[in-house]
């Protein structure tokens, strides 16, 4: 595995090989292992170790990147040369900034940020030895336990148990040196019966936060309770979306909370910042330091990630910015109507076209949180949704997305779950959805397959638009 010291040595060599005005190196490395099971047997079981250096060179307004995963002098020289060749032939970009120094990147010289500020607090360590130390045999034992839950309920199970340790760092020739180390363990369980299924997924930097038996039991319960699903007509229903379903559908709007997206006029927030777009009960921030969050505290240029309040009482307050986007926005015709314009530390590695994006989303805790059970209890007629699947954008400005329910969809009537339903297709505007939220739970760290992990609540939403059904 890479260490900060090894990376510093590699960066020294990269600098020696380069004739560019400025040089940056981003390091990523991981040891990743995943045990995959299906049909109550382990059928795939993998481990990999890889480290990558990605070198960016700057020549007077020209920049480009080359990446290699071998660190001998010849490979590094080749990557430096490739980056420089790609940069030199371009026309100068007047908006390209010099690389940030440590002072600009995190407000003081020295190491990765630790001092709290009004908008930033450093996350506590996200590296757990016990997660890194999980062995193939440990994973097999957990899978065996999940299979035994399936056996108890006469079901078939499929899923994964993975663990990883990863390193991420950025160095540049202006003295910036940032490093982040993290572990992650993840379990995803599907239980299958003849005509029904159930699913649960969780991850955490600390494996001791995972509860494989509980996940397996919940998935099994959903499978049993949704057996022999019935078909009801599509239409507008009150839905209770479990956190994973909320995560996967709302994730489609956060690409638009970006200065570049506004400048490109591809954001649904164009002409809408400062307006009440969602219900008053919706508050959303991006906060890398939030305890259940994960990820590094700096962005693709090494800038520290600030905590940014994106939505307050349903009003979109602002978007996030990479360094380079700030000046462009200030000089643009949109400057007066987009809220605060300042670097927030959400940029992707340069060069790129998309600029920035908030990726540590935390929904605000509602004034009166309601559990999923309470939401069910207060529902006369509605649909309980475990999970949404294959979500794609239909309309970029009205933010209509389509997708399917999956792995546990139930009819709720008279305050109780009645029976399983065949799955639906939805075509739903996210603007309408977040304007129709009647109740929310306490937000939790959730993980799905369509969006990055977030801290989101379960939601009870009225008039959710199911347009078709399928055959199971």
């Amino acid at each position: 595995m890479l260490t900060k010291e090894k990376a510093a040595d590699i960066f020294d060599r990269v600098r020696r090989f380069s004739s560019a005005d400025e040089v940056e190196a981003i390091f990523t490395g991981s040891r990743f292992a995943l045990t995959r099971f299906a049909n109550n047997t382990i059928h795939q079981n993998v481990e990999e170790e890889n480290s990558v250096v990605s070198i960016r060179t700057n020549f007077a307004g020209r920049t480009a990147r080359a990446t290699a995963n071998q660190f001998d002098d010849e490979s590094l020289r080749r990557a430096v040369e490739a980056s420089e060749n790609l940069a030199r032939v371009q026309a100068a970009d007047p908006d390209l900034l010099p690389m940030p120094d440590a002072q600009e990147a995190y407000g003081r010289t020295g190491e990765t940020p630790v001092a709290p500020s009004s908008t930033f607090s450093a996350p506590s360590s996200r590296f757990f030895e016990r997660t890194a130390a999980i062995t193939p045999a440990d994973r097999a034992e957990v899978v065996k336990d999940i299979v035994s839950v399936a056996g108890k309920h006469k079901l078939t199970t499929a899923g994964i148990y993975s663990n990883s340790e990863s390193e991420e760092g950025i160095f540049n020739s202006r003295g910036l040196a940032n490093w982040h180390r993290q572990t992650l363990a993840e379990i995803s369980v599907t239980m299958l019966a003849e005509d029904s299924s159930g699913w649960q997924k969780a991850n955490s930097p600390d494996m001791s936060n995972l509860e494989p038996a509980r996940l397996a039991e919940t998935a099994a319960q959903k499978t049993v309770e949704s057996a022999h699903p019935r078909e009801i007509a599509p239409g507008k229903y009150t839905v209770i979306l479990e956190p994973a379903a909320v995560l996967d559908i709302v994730g489609f709007m956060f690409w638009d909370f970006s200065g570049v997206a506004i400048l490109d006029q591809r954001s649904f927030l164009n002409d809408r910042i400062g307006t009440r777009l969602f219900g008053e009960n919706i508050n959303i921030c991006d906060d890398v330091a939030h305890p259940p969050q994960a990820g590094s505290p700096f962005d693709g240029e090494g800038m520290r990630r600030e905590c940014v309040q994106l939505v307050e009482k349903g009003v979109v307050k602002r978007v996030v910015y990479a360094r380079a986007t700030v000046q462009k926005m200030k000089n643009s015709e949109y400057a007066a109507k987009v809220g605060p314009i300042e670097p927030t530390g959400h940029g992707f590695p340069l060069p790129n076209e998309v600029g920035e994006m908030p990726m540590n989303i935390v929904f605000g805790t509602p004034e009166k949180p309601r559990s999923v059970e309470e939401m069910i209890g207060s529902t006369e007629r509605g649909v309980l949704v475990t999970r949404l699947w294959y979500i794609r954008e239909v309309d970029p400005y009205e933010k209509i997305v389509t997708g399917m329910t999956r792995d546990g969809t139930f009819l709720v009537e008279n305050g109780k779950v009645q029976y399983g339903l065949r799955n639906f297709r939805f075509n739903q505007s996210l603007i309408s959805m977040l304007s129709n939220v009647e109740a929310m739970s306490v937000p939790v760290r959730a993980s799905g397959e369509e969006s990055f992990d977030m801290v989101v609540p379960a939601m009870k939403v009225r008039e959710f638009n199911f347009t078709e059904g399928t055959k199971f």
């Binding site: 292992a33 995943l34 995959r36 299906a38 109550n40 047997t41 382990i42 059928h43 795939q44 079981n45 993998v46 990999e48 890889n50 480009a64 080359a66 990446t67 290699a68 071998q70 990557a79 060749n85 790609l86 032939v89 026309a91 970009d93 062995t135 193939p136 097999a140 034992e141 899978v143 065996k144 299979v147 078939t156 499929a158 994964i160 993975s162 995803s188 369980v189 599907t190 299958l192 699913w199 490109d264 006029q265 591809r266 164009n270 060069p351 790129n352 294959y390 239909v394 400005y397 009205e398 209509i400 389509t402 399917m404 999956r406 075509n427 347009t467 078709e468 399928t470 055959k471 199971f472």
Partner: protein, 486 residues
């Protein structure tokens, strides 16, 4: 590199495996984009490493390392065996591999111009010309272009004696013009959306695509969509262009015929399939006109699923998938072949790179063109009422691959054999087998293109590979349209 792979096999064999293979893979990539007259990104990458796959104790293990030192390679082999022995703790039966002849071979993608010998200036000049053409159209608010080249060189050695060296090139380019006005964002792409058109060829692919020649038209269409009528909701005859039909094949034929999905091996992530094994040879998948093959051979064309050998050393094949509407074949591997009574793998096991386990992937899953000459314009002329849809805008399908919904960037209403008005926000939806059974016309070979889908995701950890889909425009009756906006 062959020596490195041999080292891994030797290290595995002394530890008592029943099967092992090793793949050393080197991947080089160039990626260029522009946005609104400037370079968006310019990057190149190299990735080199080894993946070792073993069967020990009747179960699979896989370990991969970027470090190709002797100690690291032997360590990866030992680790793969340790993992296999852990897998064996939770197994119902031993892994069985269908027999496969030993192969010793060299193969490379045929190409005229090695794309990596073209200069970055030349590449960017072309993209910036396209960009300039698009932005010359009033109303265009965002113009994006992109070009990608990849060279993948692999050395595959197995404990059975196979020794295969392959070099594959792929080349792709495309662009999109966006127009934001009022409360709408409209876009048009060429030659296809989501990355353009990709094939396993050299730079000649780029030269033949007429990128500059089509840029202004495409941009004008993006702007014109703002004045177009909304696609109506209801039942309609539809005609799909070849690129959209290619994606329709990908989602509603290519994925459901993956035998690992059918067997439940993807149930936790990608999903399963409605094509349960008893349907093989029995299901009427489509109308008599529907003939589909999965063909990885060079003679099928330079698709993203074209190769000489798959990533477990099985020679490229052509498998009939649907013959005159009847379902006849799956995509299979050495491990899964026996489940359908096949004596041999269909040769579809592929990995994203050295650090990924090969799994069943689409090769080139293509619908064969109609035998009678029929151009798109003739097909439109022969259609009394309907909607012609072009270029994918959104796609979604359920986890058994029954219910789908696709959106297209642009459409035209057809009345009495003529395009009478442009339609925006077009979409159609349906159930897979009902849809394919409603196909009543397909254009002939001169309208047939082997489209590339460079972004097919599957597996845990997820792997993205390219797939090929030959298609020509086709007509479908009584299809639900417009429900995306209902």
């Amino acid at each position: 590199m062959k020596t490195t792979a041999r080292l891994a096999l030797d290290a595995a064999s002394v530890r008592g495996v029943t099967y092992a293979d090793a793949r050393v893979v080197s991947i080089c990539n160039r990626s260029l984009t522009t946005k609104n007259g400037r370079v968006g990104h310019a990057s190149e990458s190299e990735s080199l490493g080894i993946g070792v796959r073993v069967i020990a104790g009747g179960a699979w293990g896989f370990a991969a390392s970027a470090d190709l030192s002797r100690a690291a390679v032997e360590g990866a082999a030992a680790r793969a065996i340790e993992i296999a022995r852990a897998s064996a703790r939770v197994k119902l039966e031993d892994v069985r591999l269908a027999p496969e002849p030993v192969a010793v071979a060299e193969w490379a993608t045929p190409y005229k111009i090695d794309p990596f010998t073209t200069s970055v200036e030349q590449n960017l000049d072309l993209l910036l010309k396209v960009d300039s053409e698009m932005r010359a159209v009033a109303g265009i608010t965002l113009a994006e272009t992109g070009m990608n080249f990849q060279r993948e060189e692999s050395w595959f050695l197995s404990s059975e004696g196979s020794d295969i060296h392959q070099t594959k090139y792929s080349t792709g380019a495309g662009y999109t013009a966006y127009a934001f006005a009022g409360s709408e964002i409209q876009k048009r792409s060429y030659p296809n959306s989501f990355g353009g058109q990709w094939q396993n060829r050299g730079y000649e692919q780029i030269e033949e695509m007429k990128l500059v020649e089509n840029a202004r038209r495409v941009a004008e269409e993006a702007v014109a969509l703002h004045r177009a009528d909304q696609c109506p909701e209801g039942a309609s005859t539809i005609i799909l262009d070849g690129s959209q039909l290619g994606l329709q094949i990908h989602e509603s034929i290519g994925h459901p015929i993956e035998l690992d999905r059918v067997l439940g091996m993807e149930a936790n992530f990608a999903g399963t399939s409605f094509l349960t094994i008893e349907k093989l040879g029995n299901l009427r998948y489509g109308s008599e006109l529907v003939n589909v093959v999965a063909d990885a051979r060079q003679e099928h064309g330079p698709g993203l699923g074209t190769f000489a050998y798959d990533d477990e050393g099985v020679a490229a094949q052509s498998t009939p998938i649907i013959a005159n509407g009847r379902f006849t074949g799956y995509l299979s591997s050495r491990e899964t072949a026996h489940t359908i009574g096949a004596a041999r793998s269909g040769g579809t096991l592929r990995a994203e790179g050295w650090n990924r386990l090969p799994m069943i992937r689409m090769t080139n899953v293509s619908i064969l063109p109609g035998e009678k000459p029929l151009s798109l314009e003739q097909l439109i002329a022969a259609t009394e009422d309907g909607i012609y849809m072009e270029t994918n805008k959104s796609w979604s399908i359920d986890d058994k691959r029954y219910n789908f919904q696709f959106g297209c960037e642009i459409a035209w209403e057809i009345r009495n054999g003529k395009r009478v008005r442009m339609l925006k926000n077009a979409s159609y939806s349906g159930i897979t087998t009902e849809f394919w059974n409603s196909m009543d016309a397909i254009c002939s070979r001169d309208e047939w293109t082997l489209w590339g889908t460079p972004n097919c995701g599957k597996g845990q950890p997820q792997q993205v590979v390219g797939t090929g889909h030959g298609a020509s425009p086709a007509r479908f009756r009584n299809i639900r349209v417009g429900s995306a906006y209902s």
